[in-house]
C-alpha cells in the first residue's frame, strides 16, 4: 500500500513537472503575439487548457486542494479563451504565469512534505475576475463547443469507399420496410438483401455495432415488427452520419433522415406521451424514463433539434442520479422539465421543426446542474460510515447498525463542526417518570441527538444516545445530575479518539462514581461476547472509580478466569474462548507464512526478469502490462511484509490475554489460612506480596493445588501452637507469607513460615523407617539430600494424621506439578526458625516454542529446545553403519529412524528412502547425543499452548501434551526426552530385525 502511495507521489511529481514545462513554453510562445486568431493559436490554447486541466485532476487525486483551486481557475480562464470569450493577451497570460509559479511552489511543497499548502487569496481573486462567473463560462462552452476536424477513418480506404456508396444508395430500399403492407415477397427479399450486404460490409470494415444494427433490422423485418424496424432505421441514420463525418463522404444519412421524417415525428409523439406519463410521478421516474429520454434525444438529433436533445439528455442524466435520492426539489424540477417536453411533439411537426427556446432551455439545464451538485453533496454526507471512521471518532463499531442515512449525515455534520463534541449518554428510563421526561426534554434542548439504540445491560434494557453538543462535559454532567440526582439512571461520556481526552478526565477525579464507570463495570459481562470491539470504548483508567477493586468485582472472588484489561474495565472470558482465539491466530500466522512464500516465490521474480529482458525496448503496450504486473508484485510484497508485522503484533497482544496477575491465585488463600489456623488453635498472620506479577492464566490453574498443599503443610506442620511458640521465645502469632517476584522471564513464588523448620534428623529417620533408604546410606547423605526426601512419594513427617493432611496429595505431587510447568522447588529451612519453599517457574510455562511437522495426517510438535536442526538428504546419503541406518552429517555419523516407526504410527513411503528428492531429517538432541528423525513434511515453527492432555493420550509414550490448530485439528506435542528414548529403541529394533534378514546392498 505505502509503495503504491510512494509511486503515486513520484508520478505526480514527474507529471506535474511536465505540465509546468509545457505551460511555460506555451505561454511564452503566445506572449509575444495575439495567438487567438490563427490555427496554431487555437491548438496552443487547447494544449494549455489540457495541461491545467490535468494538473487540476492530479491535485485532486492527491488531496491537494490549494493546488486544485489554482489549477481550476486557470482552466476556467482557458476555457473562456478556447470558447472565444477571451483573448490570450498579456493581460490574461501574465496571471496565468503567476498561477503557474504558484502551482510549482505548491507541487514542490506537496512532493517534499506530502501535504497541501495554501493558495494566495489575491491570486485566486485575480484569476476569478478573468474566469468570470462559472455559469457564464458554462453557457459559453455550451454555445461554442470546440470544433476540430475529425480524425479520419484510415483503414481499408477502398472498401470504405465502396461501403459508403452502398449505404448511400441502399437508404431508399431500406425505408421500404416501413410500409410493410405494401411489401411483397420480392420487395421483402430486396430489402433484406440490401441489409445483408451492408451487414457483411460492416463486418469486413470492423464496424461491429453497425453490423449489429443491420442484423437487428433484418430480424425486425423477418418478424414484421414496425417498431423494431423504425428503431433500427434511426440507428442507421445516426451511424451513417458518423460514417459520413469520419470518412468525409456523404453516406446518405441526410437522405434517410428526410425519408424517415414523418415516422420520426410520430415516434417522437408516442415517446413524449409516455415520457409525460412517467414524469408526472417523480417516484416512478427512474431508469425507464432515463432510457426513454435518451431514445427521444436520439430522435431529436435526427430531427436536428439540438437544444431539445441536450435538455432531454440532461434530464435523463439527472434522473439516473437524483431519482433515488428523493430530494425535495426534484418533483418541481421534473415538472418544469415536463412542461418543456409537452410542446416538443408539436414543435417537431412544424416546417421547419422548431427547437426549444434557447434561454429557457439553458435556464432549466442550469437549475438541473445545480440540483445535482447539491443532491450529490447531500448523498455524500448520507453515505454509510466505515468501522475505521467510527473508531477514529472514538465511537463503537457496533453503532453502524443504528446509523440511518439521515443520522449518518447528522454525525458527519457534527464531526465536521469544530464547535461541537460528541457524547454518549446511557440512560435507564423505566424506573422514574421524572427522569424520563426530564431526559427527553434535555435531549430536545441544548444537545443534538444523532441516534439512539437499546443496550441490554445486566438484565435491563438501557437506552444509549449519541448526542452532539457545544457544551463541555462538566456542564452536561451537571444538567444530567439535575434531572437524575441519584446518578443511577443517566451517565454520559465524551466520545474521543483513543487517549485524547485522558488528561481532561484525569483532572476531574471528583467525578468518580457518578460518571459512567460503574455502568461499564456492570456491563462488562455483556460486553465480552457480542461486540468485542466494545473494549475499545472502555473508559480511560482515570474514570475507574476507586471504590471498585481493580482486579475483580467482589461477587467473583476466586475466579482464575478474570482478565484485567489495561483500560481498567474487567472482562471475564471463558478460558476456552481465549484458547480458541489463540488457535485461530496460530492459523493466521500459518496463512501469513504461506502468503509470504507465494509473494516471495523466486519463480515469479525470475519470470518477470526474463520478460523484462525479452521485451527490451520493444512493444510499449506489452511493456505497460509488464509494468503493471511488476507494480502489483511490489504491492503484494509490501502488503505481505505489513501483514506479517501486524500478525506478530496481534499475536503479542493476544498473548497478553493469557496473562493475569498472580493475585487472582493468591487471593484464594487468606480465607483458607484463617480457617485452618482457627481449627488448629493457632494464630497466623498471613501476608501477600507481589500480587501484581503477571503469569499465564493456565499456570494459575495448575499452581493452585500445589500451593494449597504447601500452605496447608505450613500451617499443619510448620507453625507451632501459640504456647509452643512462646516457650521458644517467639511471638505467639506466627507469620506465613506468600510472595511472588519476577526475574526476567521467570517468576519465583515463595511460601515462608517462621515455624519450627524441618528437622533433618526426623526426615532421615522417617525415610529409613519407610524403607526409602538404608540406615547406613542415610547417614552418609548431606542434610540437603536428606531433606529432599520430603518430596519422595508417600513421605510425611507428621506423626499424627491431622484433619488437613492425609488428603493423598504429598509433596511428591507438588514437585511433579511444578516440574511439569517447567519449574523447580528449592527448600530453605532452619530448625526452630522456619521454612521457605521457593518455586521457580517460567512466566508462561504453557507456551511452548515448537517445531510443527507432519507424519501421515497427524500434525506433531517437537519442543524447540530438543531440535538441533532440520536437514535434507537425498536417498543415496542413507547408509547402514553397524547395522543401523545413518547419514553423514558434518563428517559425523548420525543414526536415523523414521519418526512414524519411533512413535509406532503406521508408516507410509519407502524405508530406507529410494528415488528422487530430499528426505527431511529432524536432528533431535538430548544432552550430547543426536538422533535423526525422518519426517514427511515440515510445517513451521510455532508457539503452542499446551493443554492438559486427555488422560488416555497421556498414557501414550512420547506424548507430552496436546494443542489445537485453527482448523480444530489436534497437534500432539512430543516429549523430547521420551521421544529420544523411543527413537533409540526403534533403531535397536530395526537393527535387530536387520540382523535377522539379509542385509540390503550397501555401497
Amino acid at each position: 500500500m505505502s509503495e503504491l502511495i510512494e509511486t503515486l507521489w513520484r508520478q505526480f511529481g514527474v507529471e506535474a513537472g511536465e505540465h509546468f514545462d509545457a505551460i511555460e513554453k506555451l505561454l511564452s510562445a503566445s506572449s509575444g503575439e495575439d495567438g487567438s486568431g490563427e490555427d496554431g493559436g487555437a491548438e496552443r490554447v487547447a494544449a494549455l487548457f489540457r495541461s491545467f486541466h490535468s494538473l487540476k485532476g492530479a491535485a485532486r487525486a492527491m488531496d491537494l486542494f490549494a493546488m486544485e483551486a489554482v489549477a481550476h481557475r486557470a482552466e476556467t480562464i482557458l476555457g473562456r479563451v478556447r470558447g472565444g470569450a477571451l483573448a490570450l493577451t498579456g493581460a490574461v497570460g501574465d496571471p496565468l504565469l503567476e498561477a503557474l509559479d504558484a502551482l510549482r511552489g505548491l507541487a514542490d511543497l506537496a512532493v517534499r512534505e506530502r501535504r497541501d499548502g495554501k493558495a494566495d487569496p489575491d491570486l485566486l481573486a485575480r484569476l476569478d475576475a478573468l474566469g468570470g462567473a462559472s455559469e457564464a463560462v458554462a453557457a459559453v462552452k455550451a454555445a461554442l463547443p470546440p470544433v476540430k476536424p475529425p480524425t479520419r477513418l484510415h483503414d481499408n480506404e477502398k472498401l470504405l469507399t465502396l461501403f459508403v456508396g452502398l449505404l448511400h444508395d441502399g437508404m431508399a430500399t431500406l425505408t421500404r420496410a416501413l410500409d410493410l403492407a405494401a411489401l411483397d415477397a420480392d420487395g421483402f427479399r430486396s430489402v433484406d438483401d440490401t441489409a445483408e450486404r451492408l451487414e457483411i460490409a460492416c463486418e469486413r470494415l470492423n464496424f461491429l455495432p453497425f453490423a449489429d444494427v443491420f442484423r437487428r433490422f433484418r430480424a425486425g423485418l423477418a418478424a414484421r415488427d414496425p417498431d423494431a424496424i423504425l428503431r433500427e432505421l434511426q440507428a442507421v441514420t445516426l451511424a451513417s452520419a458518423r460514417v459520413g463525418r469520419l470518412s468525409g463522404r456523404d453516406a446518405g444519412s441526410a437522405i434517410l433522415a428526410t425519408l424517415l421524417a414523418d415516422h420520426n415525428a410520430q415516434a417522437l409523439a408516442r415517446g413524449t406521451a409516455r415520457a409525460l406519463e412517467l414524469m408526472a410521478d417523480p417516484a416512478a421516474a427512474g431508469e425507464e424514463l432515463a432510457g426513454l429520454l435518451d431514445r427521444l434525444a436520439a430522435t431529436l438529433d435526427i430531427l436536428a433539434l439540438p437544444r431539445a436533445a441536450a435538455l432531454l439528455r440532461v434530464i435523463a442524466d439527472v434522473t439516473r442520479r437524483a431519482a433515488p435520492l428523493g430530494h425535495e426539489d426534484w418533483p418541481g424540477l421534473l415538472n418544469d422539465g415536463r412542461a418543456m417536453v409537452a410542446g416538443l411533439a408539436h414543435q417537431a411537426t412544424l416546417d421547419p421543426p422548431e427547437d426549444l427556446d434557447a434561454a429557457a432551455a439553458a435556464a432549466l439545464e442550469g437549475r438541473l446542474r445545480r440540483f445535482v451538485d447539491a443532491a450529490s453533496a447531500a448523498a455524500e454526507a448520507r453515505r454509510p460510515f466505515t468501522v475505521e471512521e467510527l473508531t477514529a471518532f472514538g465511537l463503537d463499531a457496533g453503532l453502524l447498525r443504528f446509523l440511518s442515512p439521515d443520522s449518518a449525515a447528522d454525525l458527519r455534520a457534527a464531526v465536521a463542526d469544530p464547535t461541537v463534541t460528541l457524547y454518549e449518554v446511557t440512560a435507564f428510563l423505566e424506573t422514574s417518570a421524572e427522569v424520563a421526561s426530564g431526559f427527553v426534554s434535555w435531549l430536545g434542548g441544548k444537545v443534538r441527538a444523532i441516534t439512539n439504540w437499546p443496550e441490554f445491560i445486566d438484565g435491563k434494557t438501557w437506552l444509549r444516545v449519541l448526542v452532539a453538543s457545544a457544551q463541555g462535559l462538566d456542564p452536561l454532567r451537571d444538567a444530567l445530575s439535575a434531572i437524575d440526582p441519584s446518578g443511577q439512571f443517566l451517565h454520559i461520556r465524551r466520545c474521543a479518539p483513543s487517549a485524547e481526552d485522558e488528561p481532561d478526565e484525569a483532572s476531574t477525579p471528583d467525578m468518580a462514581g457518578e460518571g459512567d464507570a460503574p455502568l461499564v463495570a456492570e456491563s462488562a459481562p455483556t460486553m465480552a461476547h457480542p461486540v468485542p470491539a466494545r473494549t475499545t470504548a472502555a473508559p480511560s483508567p482515570a474514570t475507574q472509580p476507586p471504590d471498585i477493586p481493580p482486579a475483580l468485582p467482589p461477587s467473583a472472588p476466586a475466579s482464575p478466569r478474570a482478565l484485567t484489561a489495561p483500560g481498567g474495565g474487567v472482562l471475564r472470558v471463558p478460558g476456552e474462548v481465549v484458547d480458541r482465539f489463540m488457535a485461530r491466530i496460530d492459523g493466521m500466522v500459518l496463512l501469513s507464512g504461506e502468503l509470504n512464500g507465494v509473494a516471495n516465490d523466486l519463480r515469479l521474480e525470475q519470470a518477470l526478469a526474463a520478460l523484462t529482458e525479452r521485451l527490451g525496448a520493444g512493444d510499449p503496450e506489452l511493456r505497460a502490462v509488464q509494468e503493471a504486473v511488476e507494480h502489483h508484485r511490489r504491492a503484494l510484497l509490501d502488503l505481505d511484509a505489513q501483514l506479517s508485522r501486524s500478525v506478530d503484533r496481534l499475536r503479542e497482544s493476544a498473548l497478553d490475554l493469557r496473562v493475569v496477575p498472580i493475585d487472582t491465585l493468591f487471593n484464594q488463600f487468606p480465607r483458607v489460612v484463617r480457617e485452618l489456623a482457627r481449627v488448629q488453635g493457632k494464630t497466623v498472620r498471613f501476608t501477600l506480596d507481589g500480587g501484581d506479577v503477571r503469569i499465564d492464566k493456565s499456570m494459575v490453574e495448575t499452581l493452585y493445588d500445589p500451593l494449597m498443599h504447601m500452605v496447608r503443610n505450613a500451617i499443619d506442620h510448620g507453625v507451632e501452637s501459640p504456647a509452643e511458640r512462646e516457650a521458644a521465645g517467639k511471638p505467639a502469632q506466627a507469620t506465613l507469607s506468600l510472595r511472588a517476584v519476577q526475574r526476567n522471564s521467570r517468576v519465583v513464588v515463595e511460601i515462608a513460615d517462621d515455624g519450627r523448620g524441618i528437622s533433618t534428623e526426623a526426615v532421615r529417620a522417617k525415610a529409613v523407617r519407610n524403607g526409602l533408604i538404608g540406615e547406613e546410606d542415610s547417614q552418609r547423605l548431606s542434610p540437603e539430600s536428606v531433606r529432599d526426601f520430603i518430596f519422595a512419594s508417600g513421605f510425611s513427617t507428621a506423626d499424627s494424621v491431622t484433619e488437613t493432611s492425609g488428603r493423598g496429595v504429598g509433596m511428591d505431587v507438588v514437585r511433579n506439578a511444578i516440574t511439569r510447568l517447567g519449574g523447580s522447588v528449592a527448600t530453605r529451612t532452619r530448625e526452630g526458625a522456619g521454612t521457605a519453599f521457593a518455586i521457580d517457574l517460567p512466566l508462561s510455562a504453557a507456551i511452548l516454542r515448537t517445531l510443527l511437522l507432519q507424519v501421515g495426517d497427524q500434525v506433531l510438535a517437537i519442543p524447540d529446545r530438543f531440535v538441533e536442526e532440520v536437514c535434507g538428504f537425498t536417498a543415496d546419503a542413507f547408509h547402514v553403519v553397524s547395522g543401523r541406518w545413518t547419514v553423514l552429517r558434518r563428517n559425523r555419523v548420525l543414526p536415523v529412524v523414521r519418526l512414524a516407526d519411533a512413535l509406532g504410527f503406521p508408516a507410509s513411503g519407502d524405508w530406507p528412502p529410494v528415488g528422487e528428492g530430499q528426505r527431511l531429517i529432524v536432528v533431535l538432541r538430548q544432552g550430547d547425543r543426536r538422533i535423526g528423525l525422518e519426517i514427511d513434511k515440515l510445517l513451521r515453527r510455532g508457539d503452542l499452548f499446551v493443554r492438559e492432555s486427555h488422560p488416555g493420550l497421556a498414557e501414550v509414550p512420547g506424548v507430552g501434551g496436546v494443542s489445537l490448530l485453527n482448523d480444530g485439528r489436534i497437534v500432539i506435542i512430543l516429549d523430547g526426552d521420551e521421544l529420544y528414548r523411543l527413537a533409540a529403541a526403534a533403531q535397536r529394533r530395526a537393527a535387530e530385525g536387520m540382523a535377522g534378514t539379509p542385509q540390503p546392498l550397501v555401497s
Binding site: 500500500m1 503504491l4 509511486t7 503515486l8 508520478q11 505526480f12 514527474v14 507529471e15 494544449a47 487548457f49 489540457r50 486541466h53 490535468s54 487540476k56 485532476g57 492530479a58 485532486r60 487525486a61 492527491m62 488531496d63 458554462a138 462552452k141 455550451a142 463547443p145 476540430k148 475529425p150 480524425t151 477513418l153 470492423n206 464496424f207 461491429l208 455495432p209 453497425f210 449489429d212 451511424a239 458518423r242 460514417v243 469520419l246 434525444a297 436520439a298 438529433d301 436533445a309 441536450a310 439528455r313 440532461v314 435523463a316 442524466d317 439527472v318 442520479r321 439545464e365 442550469g366 438541473l368 446542474r369 445535482v372 466505515t386 475505521e388 503496450e621 503493471a628 507494480h631 502489483h632
Partner: protein, 138 residues
C-alpha cells in the same frame, strides 16, 4: 463466466495508476491494458477487444469524444467516461451520452485516504460492474 475485460484510457500516468489500482481491487474484473491517448486506445481496442473501455475526455492527439465516435462504429465495448469535464448537463456529457456512453463518472479524488474497502465500493467499480452485468455490492 470469463471476467469482463477492461481497457483504461487516460493521458496521465498518475491517473492510470490510481484508476488501475481501483479496478484491480475487484477480483471479478480483468484490466487488460492501459492507453495514454486516443490513437493508442483505438489500436488497443482493436487488438484486445475489451468488454469495457474507461475513457478520459481531455487528451492530446485525440479527445475521448473523438475516440467514442470511432468506437461507436468499430467496437462493441461499453464505454464509461471518467472525466471531471463531463459533469451532468455539460456539453461533453451530452455528447458522450449521444455517442452511447453507458456511464459518466468523475475522476477519483482523495486517493490518499482510499483503502481497499473503499476501492471496492468505488464509483468506478460500481459503474463497471453495472455495465458488465455483475451484481453490485451494496
Amino acid at each position: 463466466m470469463a471476467k469482463p475485460t477492461i481497457l483504461l484510457v487516460d493521458d496521465s500516468v498518475l491517473m492510470r495508476t490510481i484508476i488501475g489500482d481501483i479496478v484491480r481491487s475487484d477480483e471479478d474484473l480483468d484490466l487488460v491494458g492501459a492507453a495514454e491517448n486516443g490513437k493508442v486506445a483505438l489500436e488497443m481496442v482493436k487488438s484486445l477487444k475489451p468488454d469495457i473501455v474507461l475513457l478520459d475526455i481531455e487528451m492530446p492527439e485525440m479527445s475521448g469524444l473523438e475516440v467514442m465516435e470511432h468506437l461507436s462504429l468499430t467496437s462493441r465495448a461499453k464505454v464509461i467516461i471518467i472525466s471531471s469535464v463531463a459533469q451532468v448537463g455539460s456539453p461533453e456529457a451530452n455528447e458522450a451520452r449521444a455517442l452511447g456512453a453507458v456511464e459518466i463518472i468523475a475522476k477519483p479524488s482523495g486517493t490518499m485516504s482510499l483503502d481497499l474497502a473503499h476501492k471496492k465500493g468505488h464509483d468506478i467499480v460500481v459503474a463497471i460492474r453495472r455495465a458488465a452485468g455483475l451484481p453490485v455490492r451494496s
